[in-house]
């Protein structure tokens, strides 16, 4: 009996220790996960998504100009195949806090069905990159349909613990190429799911106006429709109209004013003192 009692005591003690270790390990895994989400990662990439028919090299001139006259940001290009396969070109330099990641698609055709598919492909690339580079906050720039892809991604696929800081769309047709106020199915869907957009996101929507109605491809009215998606949902929504030279739809990513806007709003770099004062980053000169 005494022997049995002793065995029972030992078994009980071992069981208690195993129980504490198991529950402790489960609890700690949860804690570390929460901590990881709370602490901003050192790397906050800037995603660049080209529009329809454009390849992963679409932003090369833009990146060259953005990198001019300073320590260049590294560039990683990812192409998502139709079978969800990812092809990488370039690399992210160690210590680069804001690398550029261009995400392009094998199927880069226009049309709502393709755009929806591209948003899903983008989410596949995003999750793979997140696992690889351990970032939990980012900004994004999308040209033309690339902006729509990013908006759909933010509404449908953004992981819960990831913070989208700034989104800059260049001539993104929220109502496709429609020149009337009648909403397309895509815009209706975007409006329906707008509540999923992160409330801390800052959105800048740039419209090019080569003529009175638009940039030659996307009507101004369609870009302007973005207000129905973002306004009163995200932290701030700003529409900027760029006119003058190089305001044709295809020239917009190389437009000097837009490059300055990306520097100012997305990268927070190379900002002139005048602009800093306007944005209250510097005290006013008395």
């Amino acid at each position: 009996m005494s022997m049995m009692k002793r065995w029972a005591k030992w078994t009980g003690s071992v069981a208690v220790v195993i129980c504490l270790a198991t529950f402790g390990a489960v609890w700690q895994k949860r804690q570390v996960k929460t901590l990881r989400h709370e602490v901003p990662s050192t790397i906050a990439p800037v995603f660049l998504v080209p529009g329809s028919s454009a390849s992963q090299n679409r932003f090369d001139p833009l990146i060259r100009r953005l990198n001019r006259g300073r320590q260049p940001h590294s560039v990683l290009k990812v192409k998502v195949g139709k079978d969800d396969h990812l092809t990488y070109t370039g690399r992210i330099r160690k210590g680069d806090r804001h690398p550029f990641i261009v995400v392009a698609f094998s199927n880069n055709r226009d049309g709502y069905a393709n755009i929806k598919q591209q948003a899903r492909w983008f989410s596949i690339a995003f999750r793979a990159l997140m696992k690889l580079y351990h970032f939990n906050h980012f900004s994004a720039v999308g040209h033309s349909n690339g902006g729509i892809v990013l908006t759909l991604f933010l509404e449908r696929y953004l992981p819960a613990h990831v913070t989208a800081e700034r989104l800059l769309t260049i001539a993104s047709p929220y109502n496709l190429e429609r020149r009337t106020a009648k909403k397309t199915q895509m815009l209706k869907d975007l409006i329906r799911e707008r509540k999923q957009l992160p409330t801390t996101l800052k959105v800048y929507s740039i419209a090019g106006t080569q003529n009175y109605s638009g940039d030659g491809t996307v009507p101004f009215m369609s870009v302007d429709s973005g207000k129905y998606v973002f306004q009163n949902q995200v932290a701030s929504y700003t529409e900027i109209v760029v006119t003058g030279v190089a305001t044709n739809h295809h020239q917009l990513p190389q437009n000097r004013q837009i490059i300055n806007l990306i520097n100012q709003y997305v990268l927070h770099e190379n900002i002139s003192d005048t602009v800093k004062r306007q944005n209250k980053l510097l005290p006013r000169i008395k």
Partner: protein
């Protein structure tokens, strides 16, 4: 071992030491009660208690949150009663019978002023008092002040007992003034986490520095004074801890943290099992040697020691102010540091980076602080086994001496 026995016999022959241990024996039941309640409070009711955290007790049992402040205050008061009771009993045993009342009063009031002047001056919140005074079950460090006050008070009253009122007022005034001067002259940063603050400067000699810190801490604890490394001290202010945590959280791995060997990762994680001096090992050794006895001192200490509230055994075996226990107390801690230092250096053991509750069982600390690394779990258990082996011969001697003394007392009685 002969010389150890000789030194110990000489030590135990002193009247003051005998009175000290007698006072502790008198308080034994209260001490066990206080340590038990403190363990329950710190592990279950406290917001960051180990059991509370891993079983999410606060959210599943709403009553727990409601009761927590009462239990915390009750535990604080009980531990305070142990401390004050000890000061009074120790003084009473040393002073002549006719001066017992004023001498005890003087010692108790002086101790209250010694402990409470600083929090009052710094306007510490009432709920933070137990932590500030280090009276959350870990009563051991506070006993140094009580012993010194007891010795001074009894000496003064034995010599000039006729001027009892003047002595009482004088002692209380001196302690009060001295404490105020201490608070004003010695800045806050120079106390608290001294080792952590010095870490960035001495990081180049990390292993040596850790061993020195641990030895100093053990000696401070043995003489009943507060050490800066303890179960309650997570070294939160240490630059190394913050940098490591930040690195691990952003890169998701522990292999190249900037400070793999630091005080928290080594000493707090592996050399604090059961409290300073690897007390869980001492409890296990005592339990294995005395389990046949009905009144085993390890019986009441096992649960507090499991959750790093190791005070009862240190006071009742006793380990505190006992020369026979200095060697294993210090050696086991140093060895418990050297094992993880060696394994971390050869990269077999990942550094302990993630925070764990102060009451996490010592052998699980490494496992949890590395987010579930099995090598860390093995090292945690190994340090305990090695520490038990180190304690074994010394505990055997101490237990034998206690038994001899009890037999002697019974024969004399």
């Amino acid at each position: 071992m002969h010389w150890v026995m000789t030194v110990n016999r000489w030590w135990l022959a002193h009247r003051t030491v005998q009175q000290l241990y007698a006072a502790l024996r008198q308080l034994q039941t209260l001490l066990y009660g206080a340590a038990g309640l403190a363990t329950v409070n710190l592990t279950i009711f406290a917001k960051h208690g180990f059991l509370n955290q891993i079983f999410s007790l606060s959210t599943t049992i709403p009553l727990l949150k409601l009761l927590a402040p009462f239990i915390a205050q009750l535990s604080f008061l009980l531990n305070l009663a142990v401390l004050l009771g000890f000061a009074g009993l120790f003084t009473a045993r040393l002073v002549r019978p006719q001066f017992r009342v004023p001498a005890c009063s003087s010692a108790i009031v002086a101790l209250v002023l010694l402990r409470f002047t600083e929090p009052v001056m710094l306007d510490v919140d009432v709920l933070q008092l137990p932590r500030f005074l280090n009276l959350e079950g870990q009563v051991l460090p506070s006993f140094g002040g009580a012993i010194i006050l007891g010795l001074i008070t009894s000496w003064l009253f034995n010599r000039w007992g006729r001027y009892a009122t003047a002595l009482l007022l004088g002692e209380v005034g001196l302690v009060f003034g001295g404490t105020i001067l201490w608070v004003l002259l010695v800045p806050d940063w120079s106390r608290g986490d001294l080792y952590g603050a010095l870490w960035p400067i001495l990081g180049r000699h990390a292993p040596l520095w850790i061993v020195v810190c641990v030895m100093v801490n053990c000696f401070l604890n043995l003489i009943g004074m507060t050490g800066t490394i303890g179960a309650g001290n997570y070294n939160g202010g240490s630059v190394a801890v913050h940098q490591n945590l930040s690195y691990a959280l952003t890169t998701h791995h522990l292999t190249r943290v900037p400070w793999p060997i630091n005080l928290h990762a080594i000493a707090t994680t592996y050399a604090n099992t059961g409290g300073p001096g690897m007390l869980l090992a001492a409890v296990l050794a005592v339990w294995l040697l005395t389990r046949h006895q009905a009144q085993s001192p390890a019986r009441a200490s096992k649960w507090p020691a499991l959750f790093n509230v190791g005070a009862p055994l240190t006071l009742t075996l006793p380990i505190m102010l006992n020369p026979i226990m200095v060697v294993p107390f210090v050696t086991s801690s140093v060895v418990a540091c050297l094992i993880p230092i060696g394994l971390t250096t050869v990269r077999w053991l990942p550094p302990s980076v993630y925070p764990v509750p102060a009451t996490t069982p010592g052998f699980l600390r490494g496992f949890l602080a590395t987010n579930g690394n099995l090598v860390a779990l093995f090292v945690g258990c190994l340090t305990v086994v090695v520490a038990v082996a180190i304690y074994w011969p010394f505990v055997k001697l101490a237990v034998q001496q206690l038994e001899d003394k009890n037999e002697h007392d019974e024969t004399m009685g």
